[in-house]
């Protein structure tokens, strides 16, 4: 063991001091409830009467529950579309907002602004925009091109893609992280490349993307986690319909907990989702090893 110097010790103390509010909050408001929900997994609990221990019954029922599979399928389908869509659109927007143009600050604010509005308000906005009868989008499609627009949220086939489209107003956070990373890229590399006569596109592919790869990985993982927990859209706009096609996993969980009062079952659902997200995150981290370049590694 290395003996810690006085300075390091002091630093450590202030570290714990500064992190304490967050740490205590985590234990009380996240850690505690998590532990309880882990215990509730093995019980039947309707909120009013005390929990009754039922062993692994909740999991047994869950694995035979058709809606469990349906909701998982719908959620995975949504994630498969939403994650690439979010990453690509927010990267493209970030690259554009990184250009030196007039009104840059205003544009950046405009693109980020929707992210600070509550998801419920944004959902209402989209449900009006995309309303097949009265919505602006279908009206414009009809007036300008003479085509009847799709049913968007009201049709089984288009409901999930419509919700993916909603990510356009929800990916401000992802975009800002990209933008920050873009701004910290070393200018010398680009200078050298441009002297060598590399085209813009080539520079983007050979310099920008590799340098951004850790950030892309981070955003991808956050986006996977977020999209597997998708809820608000279907709660506000479709109530899981039509024909269960937007009945997302967390929506089902919410239903079992707060509509059917089956807290034990809902806890079991939550823990399975946790396991899925945990596993996917690990897989993504492992699988990305070869494609992600860390600056420090390159320099060693």
């Amino acid at each position: 063991m290395v003996k810690l110097s006085k300075e390091v010790k002091r630093e450590e103390r202030s570290f714990w001091l500064f992190i304490a509010p967050w740490f205590i909050g985590f234990i009380l408001f996240t850690g505690g409830p998590m532990l309880i929900s882990l215990l509730l997994c093995f019980t039947e609990y309707n909120v009013i009467s005390s929990p009754k221990f039922v062993g692994l019954d909740n999991f047994r029922v869950l694995f035979q529950d058709r809606l469990f599979y349906k909701s998982l399928f719908v959620t995975v389908y949504y994630s498969l579309l939403a994650v690439p869509f979010t990453i690509v659109t927010s990267l493209v927007i970030a690259v554009m907002l990184n250009q030196k143009v007039r009104g840059q600050a205003l544009l950046r604010t405009l693109y980020y602004a929707p992210s600070i509005i509550s998801g419920v308000a944004v959902s209402f906005l989209w449900s009006w925009l995309l309303n097949p009868q009265f919505g602006v989008v279908n009206s414009l499609l009809y007036d300008w091109f003479g085509i009847e627009g799709p049913g968007w949220f009201t049709s089984s086939a288009t409901v999930v893609p419509s919700m993916v489209l909603m990510q356009l107003t929800a990916s401000g956070g992802t975009m800002v992280i990209f933008l920050a990373a873009l701004q910290s890229l070393p200018a010398d590399l680009f200078e050298a490349a441009s002297i060598d006569g590399a085209s813009k596109l080539r520079m983007f592919a050979k310099i920008t993307l590799p340098l951004l790869s850790p950030v892309i990985l981070f955003n991808t993982i956050i986006s996977i986690i977020g999209s597997l927990q998708v809820f608000t859209q279907s709660y506000v706009i479709t109530k899981g319909g039509p024909d269960w096609n937007s009945y997302f996993y967390v929506y089902y969980l919410f239903d079992t907990a707060f509509k059917q009062f089956r807290m034990g079952y809902a806890s079991a659902q939550a823990w399975i989702l946790f396991a899925i997200i945990f596993a996917l995150t690990l897989i993504t981290l492992r699988g990305s090893k070869r494609h992600v370049h860390y600056e420090y590694e390159a320099k060693k």
């Binding site: 409830p33 509730l40 909120v47 009467s49 956050i222 986690i225 969980l253 239903d255 059917q260």
Partner: protein, 459 residues
């Protein structure tokens, strides 16, 4: 090298923390909730001030009435204060369960304001047996129709005092009828010539431009659940025991009347094209009520339309639901209940009496008068017919005929009688949507619904 290791691990840590937020949606309630027995010490007599909590689903139409109820009650009961908690309707279940599990149960509330309904809360043991109070005598209930009181009588015990009794009517858009030069539908529920064939014929004449989203007008639509459609054709999705035992049990979907009812409603959409399809209904529901768009000439729904269609930009009236052998329509009687775990049940009962009082200035009287909802108490009906008739431009006698017909052919709503009917209802709605759009035959749709209903865990 070491640096890169740290960097990657920090990220793993960060991600793990974010992943845990997946669990935030899980419940965070203390197990072992407080279901202490009531403390029946008569604290009305003591001088201590008692606070009772009255929970209502938030509704701007009711706000003035609510405030008046609290202040008039507090005037006559100086020892009791009433704290009003308005909760948004779609959060009622969620909020209420949280309140109950943390021991902060509201004392007086209407269990049908929540999606899950009376039966669910009854079965959970959340409601207090009011029989001893009723037996002690309450003059406020003297003019209450015993049949209404019986709706919330389970195994001979009363768990609710009716406050409204919404019926079901056929609402029609007078302007559209006038434009098509058609007579208004009858107010007489026993007029057997006003049947579904006749309704279809009228609807056909009222329908035009279907497919042109901007101009289309539909002759008919309804807010009926598939089960309510079955009722109106003399069928039923569930066995009679379901409504008595409060448990859905084995569904009974393949009854010929059910199939006839669904076939007729599918044909209205896909064959005769006089009714909007599911997509169109969903689209207009996003904005409010299909009937309020003015693009539906006849619409079957509950009595709350009398209040909510006041804002319509067209003239409208109410009529009888078309005749069919065995026809039944839905009645929605809402009760006041007291929580089983209420700490002040006696004071809460005093407040319920105040709310149920049909005399001028009393709760039920003012609810009818100021909020405009269908009263539960028989002594208020004549006055209500007068008011409603004037408001919607109908002869009070005609309006009375429509309402009494609806009561005569009415039966209590399923969601008030069967446990967790909201889940059953959602299952019906979701599964049947492919039948309405013609993707699935009725037979296949019902088979799938049967499977889905049987796989529900409702107890």
């Amino acid at each position: 090298m070491k640096k890169s290791f740290i960097k990657k691990n920090t990220m793993v840590g960060l991600i793990l923390i974010l992943a845990t937020s997946a669990l935030l949606s899980a419940c965070s309630d203390k197990p072992g909730s407080e279901t202490s027995g009531n403390s029946n010490n008569n604290s009305v007599e003591s001088n201590q001030k008692v606070e009772i909590v009255w929970a209502m689903a938030a509704d701007p139409d009711k706000k003035a009435w609510q405030d008046a109820m609290v202040s008039t009650f507090e005037e006559t009961h100086p020892n009791i204060t009433v704290r009003l908690e308005n909760i948004p309707y779609d959060q009622f279940d969620q909020k209420l369960t949280t309140m109950i599990s943390s021991g902060k149960t509201p004392d007086v509330w209407n269990p049908n304001q929540a999606d899950s309904g009376f039966a669910t809360y009854m079965k959970m043991g959340a409601l207090k047996d009011l029989t001893p109070y009723i037996e002690k005598g309450a003059q406020e209930l003297d003019t209450m129709d015993p049949n209404l009181l019986d709706i919330y009588k389970i195994d001979g015990r009363n768990y609710g005092i009716p406050l409204v009794s919404n019926a079901t009517y056929l609402y029609y858009n007078k302007d559209l009828f006038d434009q098509a030069n058609l007579p208004y539908p009858t107010t007489d529920w026993d007029d057997t010539s006003w049947n579904y064939d006749k309704m279809l014929e009228v609807a056909g004449k009222l329908t035009h431009d279907v497919g042109n989203v901007r101009k289309q007008v539909f002759g008919f639509s309804s807010a009926l659940s598939p089960n309510a459609m079955a009722w109106s054709f003399g069928g039923d999705f569930f066995k009679p025991e379901a409504y008595e035992t409060a448990l859905m049990g084995e569904p009974d979907l393949f009854n010929p009347n059910n199939i006839e009812a669904l076939q007729f409603n599918v044909d209205l959409i896909n064959k005769y094209k006089v009714a909007p399809d599911q997509q169109t209904v969903d689209a207009s529901a996003q904005l409010g009520d299909p009937f309020l768009t003015g693009k539906v000439a006849m619409y079957i729904t509950g009595g709350w339309g009398l209040g909510s269609y006041k804002s319509a930009e067209f003239n409208w009236g109410v009529a009888a639901v078309p005749y069919h052998e065995g026809r039944k329509v839905t009645l929605y009687v809402d009760p006041w209940s007291i929580s089983e775990s209420s700490k002040h049940p006696d004071e809460a009962w005093e407040f319920v009496r105040h709310l149920a009082d049909p005399k001028e200035g009393g709760g039920a009287y003012r609810y009818m008068n100021e909020v405009g909802r269908t009263p539960a108490d028989s002594s208020l009906f004549e006055l209500w017919y007068e008011q409603m008739g004037k408001q919607i431009g109908m002869e009070p006698a005609d309006f009375k005929q429509v309402h009494e017909g609806s009561i005569k052919y009415g039966r209590e709503a399923e969601n008030h009688l069967i446990v967790k009917f909201n889940t059953i209802f959602e299952t019906m709605k979701q599964t049947m949507s492919t039948v309405w759009n013609g993707k699935k035959s009725i037979d296949n749709g019902l088979k799938e619904l049967d499977q889905n209903l049987r796989s529900l865990k409702l107890d």
